[in-house]
Amino acid sequence: MAPEPPLLTMSGITKSFPGVRALDGVDLHVQAGEVHCLLGQNGAGKSTLIKVLAGAHQPDDGTIVWRGDEVTLRSPIAAMRLGVATIYQELDLVEGLSVAENVYLGHEPTAAGFVVRGRDARASTAALLRRLGHSEIDPARLVGDLSAAQQQIVSMARALSHEVRLIVMDEPSAALDPDEVDNLFRIVGDLTADGVAVVYISHRLEEIRRIGDRVTVLKDGRAVAVGLPAKETPTREVIALMTGRNVEYVFPERAPRDQDGSPLPDPVLVVQGLARDGEFAPLDLELRPGEIVGLAGLVGSGRSEILETIYGARRPTGGQVRVDGRVLRPGSVRAAVRAGLGLAPEERKAQGLLMLESVTRNVSVSSMSRFSYGGWLDRTKEREAARTATRELSLRPDNPSVPVRTLSGGNQQKAVLARWLLRGCRVLLLDEPTRGVDVGARAELYTVIRRLADEGLAVLLVSSEVPEVLGLADRVLVLREGRVVHTAPAHDLDEHRVLDLVLASSTPGPTLTKGPHGPATTEGSPAS
């Protein structure tokens, strides 16, 4: 590169959300014409960083220098005007509009200021699509009728319809099959040849090796490596950078098990061949009282889907769930709850809590029949029961009348746990129990979860944070693309090994068809 100033220099970017410091002084330097890869585990701060770059989030601190001048990106429009385009993972297209209308949404070519010149828009859209190697997409078609891969192309065409100098791509290959990935890489190559810079986010390390020039690694909201050469840095080193922790989580001691030779209790939950086509392959699982089993895997590996299917919130396409030997009616949450299952869902606010209501009502909602006689509520009894349950979990503040929305993330999670504690549930399904919970409160939640297990609850834990699964669970199932690729006691695994397993896939995995499943052998990468 010529000694011209870098295209983009972000330095000391800091961004906090209530209870979480998402970015803590992150630097990112991007040169014109390079592919700069951004790596990090879930929650490391990648999304927040690119949203700051796209003008969607305002940083609390730090500076952004664009082609030598310091800039403030007050809005997505401001970023676009500078020439920064972002292709988000969740495509942001309007399905009811045509391809051309989507591409030129917000900057339509017009006559007399407001009459949209549809023909011009279609013509230049066709030119853009040709450049992207997809001239078969008709600019007049509705976006809703296109495949996911084609929609991705439309998104890209929209990015290119602006005067663009930097394109951010957030996991662009996730929805693509191998041919389409090749085409994507060709497009990236063309763009960089024209001097456009690409910030590329992917979980697939081998892709980064193929097209990346330099790598920045984020971890826990900090950049732990800035501008490493993508092709020369060994995979092991990259993984080590992604996992090595500053924050040491404190996990409670596991109670000694299996050692006194006494027979194990019978499993309370037995899952046999449970499957949902297109989401996860047939799964077998046994869960005993007092045991915590962890599911480790990336977002999209089918973790949440498995949990929700066991719980009856999704209808399985095959297999069955038994609690105490009795088969649950498939696809019925009520049957699952009655049998003693409880779910703490991933989206606590959207799926777990009644945000307008008090803690008491959130806790009692699944056990109302216990405080009612013919539908008539005994509110004193209800309040006392809720208070007992929330005290048991040391929920703060110690006043169940307060609205649940005023609680911190950790205490909101405790309210969900208290609901199931009050219900007397026997199997607890935890989906990302510490998401949005700050570090101090996490340790407390871990202690609570472990204690509940010690008291005889069976716990199935899903987390994208590998240390959390390893620290908390007795047994770990590693998932990749809807399939269990490895099962082992937690103490036989370490973080590197799990990440190797999780990231190992070099081709997008086989589509989900019925086939042999269960503990599969693992590809290549040696355990450390």
Binding site: R334, P345, L354, L356, R361, V365, M368, S369, L377
Partner: protein, 339 residues
């Protein structure tokens, strides 16, 4: 046990027949009360305006009885509507159901069965329409707006079909007598007593039963309610049944009041009931609302109507005023909600 600190405002609870509010709920009660009190304030202001502009006519016992009687029919409908809106739904068919129930209950054939026949038919027709709404919405997965819009259209059509556009006079004396002055107890018309009873039952149902809790939960966050083990669909069905029941009762009240059944009855009740609930602080998106607020909303509407009529102002002006009040109420509530 130490009591948690709660705002030490005194509980100036006035309206509902509550058992003495117990202390830990005081914060909740007072919060609800700010809104209720402001509505009471508006109502009081209206009474003052009425008393000043038309001192003789407005404060006359006859007139006050009339105001309350008029409020009864729409009031009963509004109680049902409030439940539906709290649960995140909407019922556009209430006016049509009132019309259909009132004409079905006043056909010659029905009137042969006397008082009981008329009452029974009105209630059953109301419940039947509510059942259809509920099944379409809960199990047919139709959007409430569309399902009840369809019921509005076809209910009105069926009512016209039954009456052929004619007014069906009531010939059953016991029914007509209910509307006469002789039946007033301590100066209170029986219709108003029915309204009061429906209000009390509605209040208890919302605040003291699992049914009320579930309604609020479904409206506040249907997905969370489902994952907490609530049968969301069955709850929705019950809610539209309840709304239909209220329409049936309202139809009977209207028959007593008008002494007839007409296919044009209940015209635009859906809009009045929705507006009253919104003024009363019910969130159109669901999850929050009170019966007290809705009933006060109805009383405010009817009082305005009465004052305008007494002052010889046109209907057109009345309607403009109603619109202004809806906007003002929502703006004021948004402010109180954010502070």
């Amino acid at each position: 046990m130490t009591q948690p600190a709660s705002p030490a405002r005194p509980v100036t609870e006035k309206s509902p027949p509550a058992d003495a509010p117990k202390s830990p709920w005081r914060s909740l009660v007072t919060r609800v009360d700010v809104r209720t009190l402001s509505l009471l304030g508006v109502l009081a202001a209206l009474v003052v305006i009425g008393g000043v502009t038309e001192p003789d006519a407005f404060l006359d016992t006859d007139n006050l009885q009339l105001v309350l009687t008029q409020a009864s029919v729409i009031g009963v409908v509004t109680v049902g509507m409030t439940f539906v809106i709290i649960s995140g739904g909407i019922d556009l068919s209430v006016g049509a159901i009132v019309a259909l129930a009132s004409v079905w209950a006043t056909t010659v054939a029905t009137q042969e069965y006397g008082f009981a026949g008329i009452l029974f038919t009105a209630v059953v027709v109301g419940l039947g329409c509510g059942l259809v709404n509920g099944l379409l919405i809960a199990y047919g997965r139709m959007v409430p707006f569309i399902a009840t819009l369809a019921m509005l259209a076809s209910g009105r059509g069926l009512a016209l079909e039954i009456t052929d556009g004619k007014t069906q006079m009531v010939t059953v004396d016991s029914v007509l007598k209910l509307g006469e002055r002789d039946s007033y107890v301590l100066g209170i018309p029986p219709l108003v007593m029915v309204f009061a009873a429906v209000t009390v039952v509605g209040w208890l149902l919302l605040n003291r039963t699992t049914f009320g809790r579930r309604s609020v939960a479904v409206g506040g966050n249907a997905e969370a309610a489902r994952l907490a083990g609530i049968d969301v669909r069955r709850q929705r069905l019950y809610l539209y049944l309840l709304s239909g029941l209220c329409c049936g009762i309202a139809a009977f009240l209207l028959i007593v009041l008008a002494g007839s059944g007409q296919n044009t009855n209940g015209n635009l009740y859906e809009l009045d009931a929705i507006a009253a609930a919104i003024i009363g602080g019910t969130l159109l998106s669901g999850g929050r609302g009170t019966i007290t607020g809705s009933v006060l909303g109805v009383l405010i509407f009817i009082t305005i109507q009465n004052i305008f009529a007494l002052n010889n102002l046109e209907t057109a002006v009345q309607q403009i005023a109603k619109g202004a009040i809806i906007v003002a109420a929502v703006l004021v509530q948004r402010r109180t909600a954010t502070t």
